[in-house]
Symmetry: none
Amino acid sequence: MGEKSEQKKQFILETARKVFTEKGYKSVTMKDIVDACEISRGGLYLYFDSTEQLFMEVLKMEQADTDDTLEDALSKEATVTDILALFLKEQKKEILRGTNNLSIATYEFFFSKKFPKKENIARKKFELGVKLLSEMIDAGVANGEFFCEDSVAVGKNIMFVIEGLKVAARTIGVSEKTVDEQLLYMIQGLVYEEEE
Amino acid sequence: MGEKSEQKKQFILETARKVFTEKGYKSVTMKDIVDACEISRGGLYLYFDSTEQLFMEVLKMEQADTDDTLEDALSKEATVTDILALFLKEQKKEILRGTNNLSIATYEFFFSKKFPKKENIARKKFELGVKLLSEMIDAGVANGEFFCEDSVAVGKNIMFVIEGLKVAARTIGVSEKTVDEQLLYMIQGLVYEEEE
Amino acid sequence: MGEKSEQKKQFILETARKVFTEKGYKSVTMKDIVDACEISRGGLYLYFDSTEQLFMEVLKMEQADTDDTLEDALSKEATVTDILALFLKEQKKEILRGTNNLSIATYEFFFSKKFPKKENIARKKFELGVKLLSEMIDAGVANGEFFCEDSVAVGKNIMFVIEGLKVAARTIGVSEKTVDEQLLYMIQGLVYEEEE
Amino acid sequence: MGEKSEQKKQFILETARKVFTEKGYKSVTMKDIVDACEISRGGLYLYFDSTEQLFMEVLKMEQADTDDTLEDALSKEATVTDILALFLKEQKKEILRGTNNLSIATYEFFFSKKFPKKENIARKKFELGVKLLSEMIDAGVANGEFFCEDSVAVGKNIMFVIEGLKVAARTIGVSEKTVDEQLLYMIQGLVYEEEE
DNA sequence: CATGAATGAGAGTTCATTCAT
DNA sequence: GATGAATGAACTCTCATTCAT
């Protein structure tokens, strides 16, 4: 597969991502994908052996993108609060960008396949989020910005709220105000002591 | 439809609930349902016009059950902390009882159908949870058990964590320890002042 | 599956047999079968899970039919030469009845699937033919009708000629005269001594 | 087409022959051929207009090879029994060399296409075999080596056994011992008188 | 009321063949 | 000459829904 093919593969992945974002995992058919990509039925199979493989590669791409964004953020000089704010801002964007949120598709996928839960990508993504958050919190505690007794538990708590918000955004709807309110509430929990 | 028929309809709903719980919404076929119910394919259509309607009635039943449980709880004499603890205990049970948790199916359903978000049952359930929590918190604040500035925001926060935990339980796995830790953490946020 | 269904299954098997007879194994599609049976695409799958299974059941039916014919023949009083003549007459019919000869389909099938050769039905059929022939020859030798030193080898020889004729009938064509000539030649080989 | 192209065409034919030998006719895909030849998909079409034409040219090549072998054999001084033994030895090799036996593919091919049977190559090959055998038998009768009343019928008989053995070798399996036994049995039929 | 055989649209997938490069 | 990405018709198989019994 030459360079040109690689571009097309990337194009298909990005287009498929939109489709999965809009329709979830189980409801997406090959026709949806080939129509969106404006390629032939057979053409898709030149790049991906099955719908399952296609979805997994979309997830991998997603992960790589997130990793890049995180690396960028961490390479800049900033206070812990700033970085945490940046992280939450990114999450907020993802929550609200209804048409750009793969969470439902990901849940469906990892639910329908009987993958060992320990190895799945969604779990890795969650754990990475927890790790980042707890490290930020620890740093914040170290320099006096935050107060927190168990940074991992708090990291998990924030991630669970974010997951809850993402799912809610795609199913029952959630306003920007609610997202702001929730994220702010969680930061306040950390800096609480100082505010008193 | 006579009394006997009503019983059969109820039986189908309860059996279907188990199936949706196990397999989600999109993956469930009529065969799954009729096999589980041990009725004929055609028989199912005497009671429900389509799979979609069947699922919606399962959700309605679910809602009714929850309402009953809540009514029971509220009719007894108890401190606010007790009631809140009971509520969270119920939620914990639902989170961990992997095979008894309709959340994934519900997400899939409300995601695949283009229902107006305001009217959907999942939203109503969420809002009811928020209402209950905020009322409990308000009551707790009134009698000095809790400290809280915005009970609705906190109620939402707890509900988002619970939603996040439910989804996580079905997709990436979550330990009982983590559930306990998270629920405890949220209660501590409320009673925080007193602990200092 | 009730009695009526059993009849339909039988009807599909017989119709499929004709199709396989006409077109071989690999070239036959489900569409060919459902068109010939005048049933729906899905209807076929109520009775058979795949083309492979369908063909195997056709073969089983074929075998059962042959067994019946053989049993009939052996239950009647007759000289060995008569029975042998009957057997060869049956074979001749099968060879020449171009549109009623599954051999090519059977060859294709057992060639394309990597079944252990020892267990395949075609082999069993061949071995049964050899056994029948050698028993007839032995009986003929015992009562002085035939002369033969190695009845199994001769039985195999006759079966190989029959197989060769069957294949030839479906591919390069073979006249009735040639079939008669060949079968006669083989019987003469057995009774040779007496003719001298 | 230059000399170089001619070589490539020859190479493709020989490689394709191996593939058809292994997999039959209908099961072979263009991918199988181009992979085996290590050429491009389009490249194949520079030399052959379709898979059908490719197979027919493989058969033609096969025929030419056989002709050469026969010419070689007949150009040498030898007794008729020697030549017959050589012919049968060649046939035995072809029967047992499972992976070098085009018979199944040939049967499939001439069966699936609706060629007039009189003109097909497989028939020509069979008829050539019969002609060669009957000529050898006639010569053997002339010089007293053999006894035979109808050399053409016997020639056909030997060819039918050989065809039967070839098919059996690829489908139900046949041991070298059986092949030897069968070929010997047929020669003994010819020299029978002398043995008495 | 209840059955389950039957339907047919549509899903995923394969592959001979073409054609711009 | 040679490539291999692209096509699209045709394949196998599934399943919600219907309807004669």
